[in-house]
C-alpha cells in the first residue's frame, strides 16, 4: 500500500538469502503474468491508442470523418470552458488536498503514538467512510446540506441563524471538498499508519536515551521515515482531484444552476461525448487532461525525491 520502492527487479534472487539459487531468465513467468497483461492491453492500452487516434480526426455531419492534425488540441488550448474547469480543480487541489492529508497525518500520528484509549476502534471507524460509495456519500451529505430536511436547515431553525447555503454558488466547491475529505481522510490515514508501523522501534529507544521529546521524535524520525508514503498519497490525491466527477455530477440535481456541464474537466469531457456527440474533441480534452495530470504528478515526485536525497 504505502511503498517507497517496489521490490528491486533483480536478475537473481534477493541478496543475502542463502539457498536461493540464481534463477535463469525464462518465459515461465509469462504464464503467470500473461493473463493480467492480456486483459490490461485490452482495457488500458487499446483505449489509450484509440483516444490518440480519435483526437487527430474530426467527424462532420456533412463530409464524414477527416484528418485534422493537431487542430483539436489547438482548440482545447483556447477553450475558455476547459480552462475554467481546469482552474476549478487546480484550486481544489491547492486547498482540499493539503487539508485532507494534514488531517490524515495528525490522526495517523495520534494512533501510532500509543497514547490513545481504544486505538483499533479509532483506526477502523475513521477508515470506514472509504467503504461508502461516492454516490451514497454525496447523496448523504447533499441531504444534510439541503435546506429541505438537512442539518443546515435544522440548525438555522433552531438557533435563528442564517448559515450560508452550502449548495449556493459561493460555498459549493468547499462543500464538495468536505465530501471528498470525508471519503478519503481515513484511507490516507491508513497509508500513513501502515508506514509508521514499520519504523524500527529501536530508533525510538535510542531517541529516548538521547532525551528527545515526542515532537522531536516526530520531526526527526517519523516524518522522514514515511516520506515515501506521503509522496504516494499526494500523487494519488492529485490524480483523484483532476478526475473529479462523481460528487459534482451527483450534486447537480440539488444545485442545477451552480454546477455547469463544464464544472470539472471530466464532466466537460463527459458532456462533450454523451450529450454533444463530439467524440473527437472529447478525446483531445481527455488526453490534454491526462498530460497535465502526468506533468503535475511528475513535478511533485521530483520535488519529493530531491528532498529525499537532501535528507
Amino acid at each position: 500500500m504505502a511503498v517507497l520502492a517496489p521490490p528491486a527487479i533483480q536478475r537473481s534472487g534477493p541478496p543475502g538469502r542463502s539457498g536461493s539459487a540464481r534463477r535463469r531468465r525464462s518465459w515461465t513467468g509469462w504464464a503467470f503474468v500473461g493473463p493480467f497483461m492480456a486483459v490490461f492491453a485490452f482495457v488500458f492500452l487499446a483505449p489509450i491508442a484509440y483516444a490518440i487516434y480519435l483526437s487527430f480526426f474530426r467527424t462532420k455531419l456533412i463530409g464524414g470523418t477527416s484528418f485534422v492534425g493537431l487542430e483539436n488540441f489547438q482548440n482545447v488550448f483556447t477553450d475558455s470552458q476547459f480552462w475554467s474547469s481546469f482552474g476549478r480543480v487546480a484550486l481544489f487541489l491547492c486547498v482540499q488536498v493539503p487539508i485532507m492529508l494534514f488531517l490524515s497525518l495528525l490522526v495517523a500520528l495520534a494512533i501510532d503514538s500509543g497514547r490513545l484509549y481504544g486505538k483499533s476502534f479509532f483506526r477502523v471507524t475513521i477508515f470506514m467512510p472509504y467503504a461508502v460509495p461516492a454516490v451514497v456519500a454525496t447523496l448523504m451529505w447533499g441531504f444534510m446540506y439541503g435546506p429541505q430536511f438537512g442539518l443546515v436547515g435544522n440548525i438555522n431553525d433552531a438557533f435563528g441563524w442564517s448559515l450560508p447555503n452550502p449548495l449556493g454558488p459561493d460555498w459549493l466547491l468547499a462543500s464538495i471538498g468536505n465530501i471528498v475529505t470525508w471519503e478519503f481522510v481515513g484511507y490516507n490515514m491508513l497509508i500513513f499508519y501502515s508506514a509508521l508501523q514499520v519504523i524500527p522501534r529501536t530508533l525510538y529507544e535510542a531517541a529516548e536515551l538521547d532525551g528527545a521529546g515526542q515532537l522531536r521524535v516526530i520531526r526527526s524520525i517519523k516524518l522522514p521515515s514515511i516520506r515515501g508514503a506521503l509522496l504516494i498519497a499526494t500523487i494519488f490525491s492529485i490524480i483523484g482531484t483532476f478526475q473529479l466527477f462523481n460528487e459534482p455530477a451527483i450534486l447537480k440535481s440539488l444545485a442545477p444552476n451552480v454546477i455547469t456541464t463544464y464544472y470539472t474537466p471530466n464532466m466537460y469531457a463527459y458532456s462533450l461525448s454523451f450529450a454533444g456527440q463530439q467524440f473527437n474533441y472529447s478525446a483531445a480534452v481527455a488526453i490534454v487532461m491526462a498530460l497535465l495530470t502526468a506533468i503535475v504528478a511528475y513535478a511533485v515526485q521530483l520535488r519529493g525525491l530531491r528532498k529525499e536525497r537532501q535528507s
Binding site: M1, A2, V3, A5, P6, P7, R11, R17, G19, S26, W27, G29, W30, F32, V33, M37, V39, F40, V43, F44, P47, I48, Y50, A51, A110, F122, V124, T125, M128, P129, A131, V132, P133, A134, V135, V136, L139, W141, Q148, L151, V185, S194, A195, R201, Y204, E205, S225, A229, F242, F245, N246, S253, S273, F274, F279, A283, A286, I287, T293, A297
Partner: protein
C-alpha cells in the same frame, strides 16, 4: 511503543475523537433517517429519531418499490463484484507472484507500462473504451462493466510486494526439487502463504467494483442492468423530474442497505487486511 509503557493521554483521545465524530455523524444521520417516513423526514430534527419507527416499513418499501427493482440492482451488483473483483484478484495474484518470484523477458517493461498506466485517469479512458465496446457490441451488457473491472494495477502492486515478503525463495526451490510442477507449486505451496494479501486485494477490488459509478453510467442504458449506485441515483433524480415521485425515504434506506454489506466485510475481515497492508509497509 518504546521500552517504557506509554501513558495514555485523555486529551489526545478527545482530540482524535473529534475526527471520529466527523467520520461517524453522516453514517449516524443515515441510520436515523432510515427510520423516518417520507413525511417526518421534512419536519424533524435530522440527528434524532422522530415519528413512528418506520425502518422496517422503509426496508419493505425499498425492496418492493417499482416491482422490486432494488433487489435486481443488488443482484447485478453482486454479479459485477463476484466476476469483476474476483477476476481482478485472481489476475493480480498470478501477476504479482510472477513479478516477485520469476525472472522473465520484458519484466521491466511490464512494470513500467503498468505503473505508467496508473497515472492515466480512468475517466480519460472512459470515452474511447465506450466507443470501442460499442463497436464490439458490448455496451449495455454486463460485460461492459465486468471486463474493465478485471484490472487493478494497485492490486497487482500490492500482491507483488506481499509475495516478495511472504514466499521464501528456498520454498519454491524445494518444491521444484521435489518435482512439483510450477502450477502445483503455486497452488499448493504459495497460495496459502499469500492468503492475507489475497484477502486485502479482494477487499479493495470489491470496494472499487461495489462503488463503481462512472463506468456503468456510460456503459449501461438499461435500468435492468444497473448496479445499486446507479439505481439509487436514478431514484434521487426522480424528485427533480416533472411528474416524478419523490422517494427520499427510499433513497436514504436504500443507501443504508447498500453500505451495510461492505462495512460488515471490512469489520469481519479486519485482521486479514490489516496484516496484508502491514506487509506492504515502507521499506527504506
Amino acid at each position: 511503543m518504546t521500552a517504557r509503557a506509554r501513558k495514555r493521554s485523555p486529551l489526545l483521545t478527545v482530540l482524535t475523537a473529534i475526527m471520529l465524530l466527523y467520520s461517524l455523524v453522516p453514517l449516524v444521520w443515515l441510520f436515523i433517517n432510515s427510520t423516518k417516513s417520507q413525511a417526518s423526514l421534512f419536519d424533524s430534527f435530522g440527528l434524532w429519531f422522530s415519528g413512528d419507527f418506520s425502518l422496517f416499513t422503509n426496508i419493505r418499501d425499498t425492496l418492493t418499490y417499482d416491482d422490486g427493482v432494488f433487489v435486481r440492482w443488488l443482484l447485478n451488483t453482486l454479479l459485477y463484484v463476484v466476476l469483476g473483483a474476483g477476476g481482478a484478484t485472481a489476475l493480480a495474484t498470478l501477476g504479482g507472484y510472477a513479478l516477485a518470484k520469476f525472472d522473465f523477458f520484458g519484466k521491466r517493461a511490464v512494470f513500467a507500462v503498468v505503473i505508467g498506466a496508473v497515472a492515466v485517469p480512468t475517466t480519460a479512458l472512459a470515452v474511447p473504451t465506450f466507443l470501442m465496446f460499442s463497436k464490439l457490441g458490448l455496451t449495455n451488457t454486463p460485460w461492459a462493466v465486468i471486463i474493465p473491472s478485471l484490472i487493478s494495477p494497485f492490486g497487482l502492486y500490492l500482491m507483488w510486494t506481499f509475495a516478495a515478503e511472504a514466499i521464501p525463495g528456498e520454498l519454491i526451490e524445494a518444491a521444484r526439487v521435489d518435482g512439483a510442477g510450477e502450477l502445483r507449486t503455486f497452488l499448493k505451496v504459495c497460495v496459502p502463504l499469500l492468503a492475507p494479501g489475497i484477502v486485502t486485494v479482494s477487499l479493495f477490488t470489491m470496494v472499487a467494483t461495489w462503488n463503481n459509478y462512472f463506468l456503468p453510467l456510460i456503459m449501461l442504458k438499461d435500468p435492468d442492468w444497473y448496479p445499486l449506485t446507479l439505481g439509487l441515483n436514478s431514484w434521487n433524480d426522480q424528485a427533480a423530474t416533472s411528474g416524478g415521485q419523490a422517494v427520499f425515504n427510499l433513497v436514504i434506506t436504500g443507501s443504508l442497505l447498500t453500505i451495510l454489506p461492505l462495512l460488515a466485510a471490512f469489520l469481519f475481515l479486519q485482521r486479514y487486511w490489516q496484516s496484508g497492508l502491514a506487509a506492504g509497509g515502507v521499506k527504506d
